[in-house]
Symmetry: C3
Subunit: 344 residues, 3 copies
């Protein structure tokens, strides 16, 4: 923890959150802060003019794909992309390494999503340009983990908190949920004072991750009671529970709706400024174990700011990989038009 | 009619033609005229440099999607897009409002097509950026209606006519056809001297629309005879008749080919300068109730100019929504290359 | 041969390699050489700023589509595209000419791929902008043929060879393979000293093409022995053999793996600098009749340089069609960032 070994981002692949030290993450976040005027359309920068992003989504994910593309456009670059298995090349027996060597001839950086675990790393090993993992099956989705932690940092700022002193409850399917696993691993690099894990017993956080959190010095509490879990925390991180994850239909019935947070439960159990997060999409149907839409007017509902932050984090990663952080403002200019976009 | 209440376009959604007054429409058309040198590649403007269009086509429509995207590019902006239901977010129970709040964080304006009536308005209600309806099921497709009326205005100019003094025949399925309904509603804001509705009796224009046209002071004639209907008009607006719309196969047989316009019928019944329009695509198969391809060399066949005009109208809407109409020429510059594109 | 009739590229369609004379091809290749600093990101050019490519892929082909799009971006232009039959317009009976007249209103040039032979030429006949054939079924894929020949020229340069003095072996399915047919036809415009055709007898080169090669003055050798075929040549051009092409399963069994080149066979039979080419994708599965991955570290394996050259050739064609070859360098400027891309 607190290791000062700084990753040299320039030209690097971004494949896993495990490649980051604490200082790397703080560097990404301070760079993301720098991006805000551009993302908010107060001015524009053309620092990546002439650069091409190959946005290679071999598995569909509209929002992640558009978020990467928009982030690259906001730095002045162009985007070429694919949005699903349209090619028959793999059917024809082409190796992922051949695909990588060919496609990496067409762009200056590649963001890639693929349904198979490990596929993005294999692709990166043969790519001639940096590769950013946009999700490889159940394995990794590092930019989601980064934007989650970045959102926590930003939301805590309002109340004077920081990543080394806060309390968080993670709720839902903690056994299979990729986002909570990644967030837990990132939290090992910081010093939150209390981590509450709220889940059905059958879907509790894997033992090794709980041990890692404890080994990092955190107080970890496990519970299957929502009300108890969310009291006295600064951040509530809610996630989806897929019914098919339960060992039996009876178990699913037993827990249905038990982890659904709504305004009444929030008012009764949470502190006034408790921030609500969710990786999205959330299931808005009545029987879902997620966030009720009656929370939508709650100013502490941070789920859309969280999605917005994804653009800032992705811009930051691009600027770091292209090694142009110091040039972003130098290539800034006024926008000819004025944005009518409002934030939330 | 002739109401002077002017819509404030800046930052507005474009969801329905019903939001427009006569003056709004004339403003769109005069702005579209201004766009012509840029669409014709006589010079370029970069007035929307740094802006991103989210071209969200949740239902496929290649030409409408490309037309919106090209219009935005011609103003100097970038386009991020989706072209079909690739995402599983909706399957996972996400509300359209959540989708809107997330996607509207990635762009400065959204053009959206969706198979469900009312979906675009619902999306717009939660969007943080202006939304332009690119078609929501059987409900609305306002830019198609605008480009149709704009085409009529332009085509009439040659013969000294205008939107307050002309005669039009609308042909085909007037019961279910979205484009003829929209056009009829727009015509209520102007004063054409004669409107002829040519259709099988089972597919005639809904009574309320006929009444609205009459209430607006128009002379309305209904007939199921093509030859009679197209004589003495300035504009023939032909549309598709889908056979499955007929109440029975016998009815369909009865009318097959009866509303197909070809050069011989045109020569026999139309005035020399009668303009032929169609929303496209037209069915070019021999048995279709549409426009015969022997009309292709007729200089009054305006169907491709009509499609071209869509780019002008969409550029105009973008310029009005971004409130940059007065800046378009200011940000103009010479093109480094010369277009070999020829118009028709 | 050696005809000096020069195609006037400006505003022309590129539909078939048969439209080129020897001088045209040399012009394309010298233009492609000029593009190298831009493709290598040593600087950028904005010569096609304001131009829009309509990248109309009615049949999926990720790499060809991205290669065209990247080439256009590298010249400063924008890309609007479609990547598969998403539209129902054709289902509704629209003619390809109508589609062409509409779509050609949205862009300044169109690259098109379509599964039907002759479809791109038919489309081009009604297009108002130049059309480049990106593959029309089994018929033509002229930019692939050009990049193949361009690669031969570049690879030969190292050893002092040129297109009028070299020896080549073409291997695989020479009966149905579109790429080898196109390459053979292009070779008729030059004077290679020896052409070896290596294939199963059932999949040998069509007689008319063999005759054309001989009529052009080439020495042509036909064999079904790989080892013999690849000895003493400068270029080995390997292609896929699809098992379903054999007249019977027994034939397929007989030849399985017999045309697979690996490092051991290469070392034993080839000269030290024999260049290995393949149109890609290659089948990397063990039983395939193609290139073994143990050749990947062989510096003479040119298959990825070949794919890279596709960008140069496509940039060259765009510059020639837009008639801006003399302006490319004039509109060059420094890139704000430095590429970390490495070539192979």
């Amino acid at each position: 923890m607190g290791d000062t070994t700084n990753l040299n981002f320039a030209g690097s692949h971004i494949l896993s959150i495990d490649q980051f030290q604490r200082e790397d993450i703080l560097k990404i976040f301070s760079t993301a802060d720098m991006m805000e005027p551009y993302a908010a359309r107060q001015s524009q920068t053309r620092v990546l003019e002439g650069a091409i992003l190959g946005n290679m989504f071999f598995e569909s994910s509209t929002r992640t794909r558009i978020s990467f593309g928009a982030a690259f456009n906001l730095l002045g670059g162009e985007v070429r992309e694919t949005s699903g298995f349209e090619s028959s090349a793999i059917v024809k027996g082409e190796s992922l390494k051949d695909t990588a060597r060919v496609l990496s001839g067409y762009s200056d950086i590649i963001c890639m999503r693929h349904p198979t675990e490990g596929s993005v790393a294999e692709f990166a090993s043969a790519s001639r340009v940096p590769v950013v993992n946009g999700g490889d099956g159940h394995n990794e989705h590092p930019t989601q983990a980064l934007l989650d932690l970045y959102t926590i940092q930003r939301e805590l700022k309002g109340s004077g908190g920081n990543l080394d002193s806060f309390r968080i409850a993670m709720i839902g399917d903690l056994k299979f949920g990729r986002t909570v696993h990644s967030l837990a691993r990132l939290l090992c690099l910081f010093d939150p004072s209390r981590i509450v894990l709220v889940s059905p017993q059958e879907l509790s956080m894997p033992g090794e991750l709980v041990e890692a959190l404890k080994a990092a010095g955190h107080e970890v509490v496990e519970t299957d009671q929502l009300n108890e879990g969310i009291s006295g925390v600064d951040i509530v991180y809610s996630t989806r529970i897929q019914e098919e994850r339960f060992p039996s239909a009876e178990e699913a019935d037993l827990y249905r709706g038990k982890f659904r947070l709504n305004q009444a439960i929030y008012t009764e159990n949470c502190q006034p400024n408790t921030v609500i997060m969710h990786p999205l999409p959330r299931d808005s149907r009545a029987e879902a174990n997620e966030l009720d839409s009656d929370l939508d007017s709650n100013p502490n509902l941070a789920i859309f700011r969280q999605a917005d932050n994804g653009v800032l984090v992705r811009m930051a990663l691009f600027a770091l990989i292209f090694d142009v952080v110091h040039l972003v403002d130098k290539h800034a200019s006024e926008l000819p038009w004025r944005s009518t976009r409002h934030n939330i």
